[in-house]
């Protein structure tokens, strides 16, 4: 098997050069899709037959919840790469993705609470889905706190990677909590094997929002990673040259 595509990621300089191009396109797609999806979902999609207009919060709730879980999977994959291949970039990705994931989880919980009050009659119940999602938030807090508490970069990277990998057990629990136990949260509307329990004029804007959120997440993550790479490699000659170029003689 040819591993060169993989080993390229070991070079912060290569990453910095490539990501510069990707960020622009990702940000552009996000900037188009998010307003389109938001206006489409909030103003033009039909209301639900039972919940009326309050179901429209789905267009924020579902994308943030999907992102919160995808982001944790990314943390775990970065953790494995960091532990096994000792790639510096993996730790950069892990540290920089954790706060974004924490915000996504927080937003999913917040929009869920706002949605729960009118539909269920309660802001919060300790059912399996909500509780496992709260645990996800604490896992993110744990990764962030651990990364900042240990001053030695390598030990911090190792500790965070182990926590990220171990915590990934929570992801299938979140996903299947609504099937394994009786919960107040309803089961998934979208399944890979079945048609969605929702008509296209409702799920199309949702799909737009989900793709938009993914692009937004990727763009923000790359921007944060680029900055962190510059900070960590500050003493290397290519970073000095790059900063020189960016400042453009403004001295």
């Amino acid at each position: 098997m040819n591993w060169t595509w993989f080993h390229k990621w070991g070079s912060p300089k290569w990453f910095y050069e490539m990501s510069g191009r990707w960020v622009f396109w990702l940000a552009l797609v996000a900037a188009v899709l998010l307003p389109v999806g938001l206006v489409w979902g909030l103003a033009f999609a039909p209301p639900d037959y039972q919940q009326g207009n309050s179901f429209r919060i789905i267009y924020i709730h579902v994308p943030t919840a999907i992102l919160a879980q995808s982001c944790y999977l990314l943390l775990a994959v970065a953790g494995v790469i960091g532990l096994v291949w000792k790639m510096k970039l993996a730790d950069v990705a892990l540290q920089q993705a954790a706060p974004i994931g924490a915000w996504m989880t927080f937003l999913a919980l917040l929009t869920g609470a706002i949605w729960g009050k009118p539909t269920w009659g309660s802001w919060w119940v300790w059912d399996a889905r909500l509780t496992s999602m709260l645990i996800l938030l604490f896992l993110y807090f744990g990764v962030i706190a651990l990364g900042q508490a240990i001053s030695n970069r390598d030990s911090a990277a190792k500790a965070c990677a182990v926590l990220a990998v171990v915590g990934v057990v929570n992801i299938p629990i979140i996903k299947y909590s609504v099937e394994w136990w009786n919960t107040l949260h309803q089961p998934a509307t979208f399944k890979l094997t079945e048609r969605p329990a929702m008509p296209p004029e409702m799920w199309l804007p949702l799909l737009v929002m989900v793709i938009g959120f993914y692009c937004f997440f990727a763009a923000v993550l790359l921007l944060r990673m680029r900055l962190e790479v510059l900070r960590r490699e500050a003493r290397s000659s290519w970073v000095k040259a790059e900063i020189e170029r960016q400042l453009g003689g403004r001295k």
Binding site: Y49, T119, A128, V165, V169, P199, M202
Partner: protein
């Protein structure tokens, strides 16, 4: 992949598998405690404890809701299409509460097996539909008409 990396990969996967098994066993052991509510069948079989607050969940039976004329007192039957449980509640019901809707009620079972609830939560399903579609389905008889 060189042998050192392979070894580290197996250690990481081993740790992950160990944690997954431990959590899986713990969750299986806690199965009953994680369930948010008891179904009417479980209550009828005596699986639900008698003198503590429990949650009962199921569908509100069609035509079973009796409201008191001069107070917020309401009685209805919750079913899982196998067994029924009668629920008595005093208070304002959530917007989504209606016959045929899934609900969860929190309260104590009394001597006659009636659940005296102090909180009623509405459960909604994973299906979303525009109102026109619902109307069309009702007109063509594919959905029951509401009373």
């Amino acid at each position: 992949m060189n042998p050192l990396r392979k070894k580290r990969l197996f250690i990481v996967l081993g740790i992950l598998a160990g944690v997954a098994i431990a959590v899986g066993l713990a969750l299986t052991a806690l199965q009953q405690n994680i369930n948010l509510f008891y179904t009417p069948t479980q209550i009828a079989n005596g699986e639900a404890p008698q003198d503590t607050r429990i949650r009962a969940g199921g569908m509100v039976k069609e035509g079973s809701v009796q409201r008191s004329a001069d107070s917020l007192e309401v009685r209805f039957v919750v079913t899982d299409y196998a067994k029924d449980v009668t629920i008595q509640y005093h208070g304002i019901l959530p917007d989504l509460f209606r016959e045929g809707q899934g609900i969860v009620a929190l309260g104590k079972l009394n001597a006659e097996g009636v659940l005296v609830a102090d909180e009623v939560l509405a459960k909604h399903d994973e299906k979303y539909m525009p109102p026109e579609v619902t109307k069309a389905l009702k007109d063509s008889g594919q959905l029951p008409k509401e009373g």
